[in-house]
């Protein structure tokens, strides 16, 4: 009869423990904090440290002597000449990858924002029945595998892709914009992260009091005025949050440029992958190259801290 007694004491201890604020805080916040420290902060800190160390060529062990050689290797030597319209510049593969990644991510973010905002606005004004249908149509692509969605655009683009075949059949194409390359990668990323933007924007638009907008319109504010003075300020957390959810993953994208670039779009994610496990494995250079993406993560962290509220976001 000892077992039930022990259960009872254990339960009593648990109950009295949970009644104390300190203990219950520790029990609830503790495990998550441990996970975040051990699996997020420590690896990123370790990566930063490795980027300033070097790797033994024979044993592949890390040599802990502070050096900036990894960074120097990325930006010095091996430059190629590139032309961007009339502009001709020289850059290393790394510099070009960084420039390309940040530009593509910016375009994808702007596209997501402009495409998602009207849809989110309509969703916020739909009645419950119509909303249920639309949210299902939005969530299904969102839940569908990222890889399947990237692959679906691989079928659409390319010399013999669906788009060019259809254009060819009606006698217009095939046209170059539908080949694999930067436009395809931008479309792929926009499609991939569109639902993140949409749901974040919707969550902040849903809390919006539309009678405010009607009131402003009645009092003579133009459409542009209403958008600038009311809708944008009131949905700013959603705009910032949504943009981060698109921009940062796009900067470090790998699958989309790999599948839709077909070797023509060397974004930073591909470069890191090659240094980490690919043909030119070197943990230190890979870590140093990763810092170009980590910078955007750190900036995102400050913006999330400042603008994104859990209760306002509602859930992504």
């Amino acid at each position: 009869m000892a077992a039930p007694d022990r259960d009872e004491t254990l339960r009593a201890a648990l109950v009295s423990g949970l009644s104390r604020r300190r203990t219950s805080l520790g029990v609830t916040a503790g495990p998550g904090a441990i996970w975040i420290v051990l699996l997020l902060i420590a690896p990123l800190a370790f990566m930063t440290a490795v980027s300033f160390a070097s790797i033994d060529n024979v044993t592949f062990n890390i040599i802990w002597e502070p050096t900036v050689n990894n960074y120097r290797d990325l930006v010095v030597g091996g430059t190629t000449e590139y032309s961007l319209g009339p502009l001709v510049y020289t850059a290393t593969a790394f510099e070009k990858a960084v420039l390309l990644s940040y530009s593509i991510a910016t375009v994808a973010t702007v596209l997501c924002l402009t495409f998602a905002f009207p849809l989110a606005y309509v969703m916020a004004r739909l009645d419950d029945r119509a909303f249920k249908i639309v949210i299902y149509l939005v969530l299904l692509p969102f839940f569908t595998m990222y890889l399947v969605r990237a692959y679906s655009w691989r079928l659409m683009f390319g010399q013999s892709g669906v788009l060019n075949q259809v254009l060819g059949a009606v006698g217009i194409g095939p046209i170059g914009a539908f080949e694999f390359g930067i436009p395809a990668v931008i479309v792929g990323l926009t499609h991939a992260y569109f639902p993140y933007m949409l749901i974040t924007l919707y969550a902040s638009l849903d809390g919006l009091d539309f009678s405010l907008i009607e009131a402003a319109r009645d009092l003579g504010a133009s459409r542009v005025d209403v958008i600038r003075d009311h809708i944008i300020p009131l949905t700013l957390p959603g705009i910032v949050g949504g943009s981060l959810f698109v921009f940062v993953p796009s900067v470090g994208a790998f699958i989309t440029p790999q599948i839709l670039g077909q070797g023509k779009v060397q974004m930073i994610g591909i470069l890191i992958e090659q240094r980490a496990i690919g043909e030119a494995t070197n943990a230190a250079t890979a870590s140093a190259a990763s810092m170009a993406v980590v910078v955007s993560i750190v900036v995102a962290m400050f913006l999330v801290f400042r603008y994104v509220d859990l209760d306002e976001l509602g859930g992504v």
Binding site: R11, L14, S19, R21, S24, T28, A29, G30, G32, A33, W35, I36, P43, L44, F46, M47, V50, P118, L119, K132, Y136, L137, L140, T144, M145, Y146, L147, V148, S152, R154, L155, Q165, G168, H191, F194, I199, D206, G207, L244, F245, P249, V251, G252, A253, I255, G269, I272, E273, A276, V293, V294, I297, A300, V304, F305, V308, L310, G314, G315, V316
Partner: protein, 298 residues
């Protein structure tokens, strides 16, 4: 206002009426334009997926020339080496990591919504960040880190990585639910003599259970669909479904694409059914897309 009634009351009344009609027409046009644009965006989301579904029944993976319909692509699935084991592998990784992510996420949501503590905002921020960190960075960072602390790329390493990746999704959904939860219900239970554990089991849990379910589903799907994180930490003995699929995409022969279209269609279908069920039972929309449905429950 005279303009709003549309009744010409004065000499200038006709002008007002014209203006109003004009205004109405513009308003209607803009309204229709907005809805048309919204519909276009849904087409954008859906078109490539529908093309996959269609091509999965086509003889050739090229749309044109169209060679006719067939079910042979689906019959081809059975003979695929490694497909079955990779599905099993992905299922187990997703289930284990979602269980961990859900447990940690639910506890952390309570901490964030119920207590004031130092660095609470920092905790919240770091709780969201794993979702934003690009897969390459998380994968590479954890790969080097795991190797140094003695965890080789393996099933375990993948589960740990995905459990961190899934945490924000649970955290966002469950804490959103807890914010709208009426705490006086808990107080009432406590006043009537229930201890914290009983209160949680009988009062709090039933209310937040659908949100926990939605969070679990989200974390599960995010793990199941992940390719890039697993690429760095899964090692050669663990081969998730995404790696099998990626291999088919890179070796894009007509045969490979046919099988891939069929597998992709099955994945889309499975997710469609799971989502429909979850939305019927668990009110997923409310927890995933904000607080709209909370109003209905009161």
């Amino acid at each position: 206002m005279a303009t709003e009634t549309g009744e010409p009351a004065e000499q200038t009344g006709k002008e007002y009426a014209d203006q109003f009609r004009n205004h109405q027409r513009i308003e209607q046009l803009l309204g229709n334009g907005l809805y048309a644009f919204a519909a276009l965006m849904l087409v954008f989301l859906w078109l490539p997926l529908l093309i996959i579904v269609f091509l999965s029944f086509a003889q050739s993976p090229n749309l044109l020339p169209f060679d006719g319909l067939t079910l042979s692509n689906y019959q081809g699935i059975a003979g695929e080496p490694g497909l079955r084991s990779s599905v099993v592998s992905s299922f187990s990784i997703a289930t284990f990591s979602a269980i961990i992510a859900t447990t940690l996420g639910v506890l952390a949501s309570f901490a964030l919504t119920r207590y004031q503590f130092p660095f609470r905002e920092v905790y919240r921020t770091f709780g969201i960040i794993p979702m934003i960190v690009p897969g390459v960075i998380l994968g590479v960072g954890l790969r080097f880190y795991f190797l140094t602390v003695g965890i080789n790329p393996s099933f375990l390493a993948t589960v740990l990585t995905h459990s961190l990746y899934g945490l924000p999704f649970v955290l966002l959904i469950v804490s959103a639910r807890l914010y709208t939860f009426d705490e006086s219900l808990e107080e009432a239970a406590r006043d009537l003599g229930a201890d914290p554990l009983t209160t949680f089991r009988d009062v709090t849990f039933p209310v937040i259970a659908p949100a926990i379910g939605a969070g679990f589903l989200f974390a599960w799907v995010r793990s199941f669909e992940d390719y890039i994180r697993a690429l760095f930490v899964s090692g050669i003995n663990t081969d998730p479904l995404t790696q099998w699929m990626f291999g088919k995409i890179t070796k894009a022969s007509a045969e490979n694409l046919n099988v891939l279209n069929a597998v992709s269609t099955l994945v889309v279908l499975a997710i469609a059914v799971a989502l429909a069920i979850a939305m019927n039972y668990g009110n997923v929309t409310g927890y995933v897309a904000g607080t709209r449905d909370d109003a209905d429950e009161e």
